[in-house]
Amino acid sequence: MQVFCEILSYLLPLFYFGLIYVYYQIFTGKNRKFERWTKTLLLSLLIIHGLEIILRQIYLKTMPLSSTYDAISFLAFSILLVYYIIERSFNNKASGFFILLFAFFPALIAAFNHHWQAEKNPLLATPTFAIHASLNIIGYTALTIGAIYAVMFLIQYKNMKQRRFNRFYEKLPPVIYLENMSKRSVLIGIILMGVGILLGHVQTKQMFGHFFISDPKVIFTDLIWVLYVAVYVGAKVKRWSSRTMAYLNVVGFILLSAGGAIVFLMTKSFHKFY
């Protein structure tokens, strides 16, 4: 069983890479026939990745997302899932290449770092933790996608303003679409992460008796979340332009990712209390 799960894990980045290659072909317009395959390919990879997650949890007999690399693998899966929904809803395949690149790297990192040993921490065995972790990851996915759309918006905005009728102009969706997708993704991210963070605090209250624990990851996540909320509300009240909001979105995401990476490298675990 472990061998099968491991092979499946190692194959996942390859499948993601294949899918990115297809979207690259679509983006560059080298071959139009690839456009017909995306639905089947996306769905197949979703099923394979979903199966890989389930089999790994069955083999390890743990709750989902009970290790850091479980969470990273789930991040790749959730980006893929969200992108699948976006493509089905808006029938635009041009952003696939950019968004799926962000799913490839987590899939690659997770595949070669799984420990294949069950986590013993009782904290990780509760359903509240699974919901807390998955909400945070999906929220993070939404913020990632929001940032990607913001970058695409800025590229297309510049193309339109400077009359650069290049490949990006041709393939990227309309500016309004990119702007709306970016704003919507950020809002979804803020809500999901908000609930996820709240659940995390509820769990620490139940386990340790304190609603707030001084842990670098907790402090950092809470801070970033507050920052996102403040900027979002500020932009709405002050009626900042779409371009300003897109820049802020990208800066927010860079802070979130870079800060997250630093804290992760420092602590080498989810939180310092386990």
């Binding site: 071959n31 139009r32 009728f165 500016v175 309004i176 709306n180 009626r239």
Partner: protein
């Protein structure tokens, strides 16, 4: 494989003749019906299809034609249209066999069009076929030619970008608008000026289902007249500032010598619509819209040169797609030729079968009185079985030789000499 294709094309197009000639040889629907009937009767053709558009008049003739007959048809066409162009080599092209098939596929896919990849030609080909089909002047060859041609066209459209992008300045505006807005249905277009240029651009937007149209003009009566035609609303020019807050797209084409819209006029209005983009198209010379407008957030300004650039880029992109489209067409021509050779073989098999069956029945009839009545069923069965066995060997040989043109031709020769079976 060297399959014989009994198809001839006689045509005059934008590549061989200017519009002055093309308009003289164009065939109306009624004329096409007459041509179909007369040529079929006079030249023993198996089928005929005529395609007459503003860019071409072509006749696809099914059946074997000698040089002499072909010359007669061309002369007949000259008489019919009271011209001499159909016999002038510099204006008329004649393709036969595979070349004619290839040309038909190129035409259907828009590869032979004046504007490469233009989609109207496909409908014109369909209409031409339906006219001929309804008049019962198409045969199996023309029916298949049409069906394979349409398949080739669909394949080219779905796998290349040959028909993508606007190729006229007025349509380029719509293409740019689609890069800003997700839908035009809820958008308001403001036309400044009521001349022909503005009208044409507005027509493209209306065609794409734009929600509302406002027309502002120096002469109010002209704005009113156009508004009535477009079911829009007419305004005086001095109301521009006010109606700008309701507008998403502005098309300006006046003969004014100064800017009709300036940064100072537009900037305050944008505060009422911070997230809604404003798309400005300046079709006027001298320009109507202050170039500084493009510096404002969420305002996109394009002039005639920009639109021309879009058109040139699209035309260039279409040209780059030709080799890919060409490859697809070649593939479909090959499939058509394969169908034709299989069809021809099945005709030969059918004739052989009839020959042997007739022979069998004739022999049985001759021996009928000498054969015992109670054994007739077994004798019928035996003779049928013998014929099938002999036929089976012929079919196998035919299938074996079909890939080798020389052997295939020899075999047909052999069948002709032995059983008097036509090729």
């Amino acid at each position: 494989m060297n399959t014989h294709i009994p198809l001839t094309l006689i045509g005059i197009s934008h590549k061989t003749a200017p519009v002055e000639i093309r308009e003289k040889i164009a065939l109306s629907k009624e004329e096409q019906v007459t041509v179909h009937k007369r040529l079929l009767d006079a030249f023993h053709l198996k089928g005929i299809l005529t395609l007459s558009t503003c860019n071409r008049t072509e006749l696809y003739l099914s059946g074997d034609l000698s040089e002499n007959e072909l010359q007669h048809i061309r002369e007949w066409l000259n008489d019919f249209k009271q011209t001499s162009y159909f016999t002038q080599e510099q204006h008329t092209y004649v393709f036969q066999g595979k070349e004619a098939v290839r040309h038909f596929f190129d035409v259907a896919a828009g590869l032979d069009s004046q504007v490469i990849g233009e989609p109207q030609i496909t409908n014109q080909v369909k209409e031409a076929y339906h006219l001929a089909h309804q008049g019962q002047v198409t045969d199996a060859l023309l029916n298949k030619l049409f069906s394979y041609g349409l398949q080739a066209q669909k394949h080219v459209r779905s796998e290349t970008f040959l028909s993508d992008g606007a190729v006229s300045v007025s349509f380029a505006g719509v293409e740019l608008a689609k890069k800003i807005f997700t839908s035009l249905a809820d958008k308001t277009v403001l036309l400044i000026g009521a001349g022909e240029t503005a009208e044409l651009a507005a027509l493209h937007f209306l065609d794409k289902g734009v929600g509302r149209i406002l027309i502002a003009n120096r002469t109010f009566s002209k704005a009113s007249e156009l508004a009535n035609r477009f079911k829009g609303e007419a305004y005086e020019l001095d109301e521009l500032k006010r109606i700008l807050t309701e507008t998403d797209i502005v098309i300006s084409a006046t003969s004014a010598t100064e800017y009709v819209l300036t940064r100072e006029m537009v900037e305050p209005q944008l505060k009422h619509r911070p997230y809604d983009p404003l798309f400005l198209i300046d079709l006027a010379i001298p320009r109507d819209l202050d170039p500084e407008l493009n510096e404002l957030d969420n305002v996109y300004l394009y002039n005639l040169d920009d639109l021309n650039e879009v058109v040139q880029l699209n035309l260039e992109r279409r040209k780059q797609e030709i080799p890919r489209a060409d490859k697809i067409i070649q593939e479909h021509v090959r499939e058509f030729v394969n169908w034709l050779s299989t069809h021809a073989s099945s005709q030969i098999i059918h004739r052989l079968k009839r020959y042997f069956d007739d022979l069998r029945k004739a022999e049985l009839k001759r021996l009928n009185s000498r054969l015992p009545e109670e054994g007739m069923e077994q004798i019928e069965y035996l003779t049928e079985s013998l014929v099938n066995k002999i036929l089976h060997q012929h079919i196998q040989l035919l299938k074996k030789n079909i890939r080798n043109p020389e052997l295939y031709e020899q075999y047909l020769e052999f069948l002709h000499e032995l059983y008097e079976i036509d090729k």
